[in-house]
């Protein structure tokens, strides 16, 4: 486990950053400061978690990276190009799934491609592939209200995968599903990472979840959000995903983060 306290703006270990956040601040109308000069790099092919107490601006930061919110100052670069809005290289997975209730599973999964003007046959083929990849084959013609919460988020995930973006932005994707489904999701996410060569930015408030799935964990402090630590949990992710939760480094990292966060809760 490596811990960088107050990391420099450009870390020496910077390999190949897909997303670079440079001194981003966000002040909402009404004067509430959500982020204060945040700088983070997101290395290519890695899963980086944004972890922090509620109100630390982690979702705000994710939406700024997505181009859904403008930053008050600072810049976000994706593959070296400044972000001014949503782009084809980034896909978003929503906390509340954001499925259109009037569209079928395949209609929802193909929606991103449809907005890009991809023809019906082609987009439905692509959608079918990713519906199968998230394990929902046979549910193509179902409507969201006919699916469980966990299945709905799989639809949201398939929709994000279908547009073949390099960067997957996930906003607490498993927080609205039950504990058992969440664990299954976390394991599936690890498997998905081996199949799909993508960069993941993963927002969560669960320490265990962050340590379980992440290559790097960015700890944000609250009010206003700042980067307080970057933690690289050095856990071997072999074939046995169940072994991770028993690994000493996993347990130590969870404990360290908890002790670090506890002081913000008083």
């Amino acid at each position: 486990m490596t811990i960088h306290a107050n990391p420099p703006a450009a870390p020496a270990t910077a390999t190949d950053a897909v997303v670079e956040v440079r001194n981003v601040s966000k002040v909402y109308a009404g004067g509430i400061q959500a982020l204060d000069s945040v700088s983070i790099d997101f290395p290519r092919g890695q899963l980086t978690s944004l972890l922090g107490p509620s109100g630390c601006g982690k979702t705000t930061l994710l939406k700024i990276i997505a181009g859904l919110l403008p930053a008050t100052s600072g810049a976000v670069l994706v593959n070296g190009t400044p972000v001014s809005g949503p782009g084809p290289g980034r896909a978003f997975v929503f906390q509340d799934f954001a499925l259109m209730p009037w569209a079928t599973v395949i209609g929802n999964v193909a929606f991103g491609l449809e907005l890009r003007g991809v023809g019906r046959a082609e987009r439905e083929n692509t959608a079918r592939h990713y519906i199968a990849e998230v394990g929902l084959s046979g549910f193509e013609k179902k409507y969201p209200h006919e699916l469980s919460g966990g299945m709905r988020q799989r639809v949201g995930l398939a929709r994000a995968l279908a547009v073949k973006a390099d960067v997957l932005l996930m906003d607490e994707p498993f927080s609205a599903v039950d504990e058992q489904t969440r664990r299954k999701f976390q394991e599936d996410l690890l498997k998905l990472r081996e199949v799909e060569n993508k960069t993941f930015v993963f927002v969560t408030h669960s320490i265990e979840e962050a340590v379980y799935v992440s290559d790097r964990i960015v700890l944000l402090s609250a009010g206003p959000g700042r980067v307080s630590q970057v933690i690289v949990p050095d856990i071997p992710r072999g074939d046995d995903v169940d072994a991770i939760r028993r690994h000493p480094v996993y347990l130590d990292t969870v404990d360290t983060i908890w002790r670090g966060l506890k002081r913000y809760l008083d």
Partner: protein, 295 residues
């Protein structure tokens, strides 16, 4: 003494044998058996929504017939008499003639109200300055008793089709505009963000996300507006010039032909209900297919 003794004995004996099922603290076994019973074909038939609707209408007709036979008033015909009068109006085509006249201001007014009203309401929900400009007008219009404006409309536009169409519009428009405005404003934020993040243009986000999301409430407004439009059309015929269905009602009343009067009133109610059902069918077919799947 002896007879009294015997009475108490038979009483308790009856309670012990036959009546024990009906006392609330009796054995629980029969109740569980009732709860566990599967609904039979008959129960399924009687709990079907369509059966219930038909039963509800039939019960209303029977009650009408029964109440009118008491009789409560000379001016209140029975259901049977009304049906006979309705059949006479259908066979001599006077009903169709009347609807031909009534439907003119109704259809024109409703079309204008629906197209203009939804467009304006959606614009109010999407564009700030339209919202500030138009909201107060329609909130006042919805609260005001608009029928009071009819003399003013006659004064300005005379007694022709224009005045009647205008009455239909002022009755139907406010609720259509306000429902559309509220519906658009309440489109789920995360769905709109989803559309933007997957590179939807402003136009795509409006047509593919905001409008379908708003359609249930917009259509609720259209249904309320349609009902109000029927009120407006009949009101115009009763207050401005007696033609069409309004004339059938007024004339039948003046010659004390109450069955015909009730038949005319019933016919306009039936047409109004059928039209509103038709609107719901359009909504479910065009905008919200998942509601059909839910049925």
């Amino acid at each position: 003494m002896a007879s009294l003794q015997r009475d108490t004995e038979t009483g308790s004996g009856a309670a012990g044998l036959g009546l024990s099922r009906f006392v609330p603290f009796g054995a629980p076994a029969p109740r569980t058996a009732l709860l566990d019973r599967q609904p039979g074909a008959l129960a399924t038939f009687f709990s079907h929504p369509l059966t219930l609707r038909v039963l509800s209408v039939a019960a209303f007709c029977l009650l009408w017939e029964a109440v009118a036979r008491i009789p409560i008033s000379f001016a209140f015909p029975t259901f049977g008499e009304t049906m006979v009068a309705l059949w006479a109006m259908i066979t001599d085509f006077s009903l169709f003639h009347a609807f031909g006249i009534t439907l003119q201001p109704l259809v024109i007014g409703l079309l204008i109200s629906a197209l203009l009203g939804v467009a304006l309401g959606v614009a109010m929900g999407l564009v700030g300055w339209v919202q500030w400009l138009a909201t107060p007008v329609f909130i006042v219009a919805q609260a005001a008793p608009l029928a009071a404006l009819i003399p003013l409309i006659i004064f300005a536009y005379g007694i022709g089709l224009t005045a009647k169409t205008l009455v239909v519009c002022i009755m139907a428009m406010p609720v259509i505009v306000l429902n559309s405005y509220v519906a658009v404003g309440h489109a789920p934020v995360s769905l709109v963000e989803m559309g933007r993040s997957f590179l939807g243009s402003r136009r795509q986000v409006i047509t593919r996300i905001i409008l379908p999301a708003a359609s249930p409430v917009i259509f609720a407004g259209l249904r309320l507006g349609s009902a109000a439009a029927f009120v407006g059309a009949i009101l115009a015929e009763l207050l401005i010039t007696p033609v069409g269905v309004g004339d059938l009602i007024t004339y039948s009343r003046s010659v004390a032909d109450y069955p015909s009067m009730y038949a005319a009133i019933l016919s306009i109610i039936v047409v109004s209900v059928l039209f509103i059902e038709f609107l719901e069918l359009i909504e479910v077919t065009v905008f919200r297919p998942e509601k059909r799947a839910r049925r």
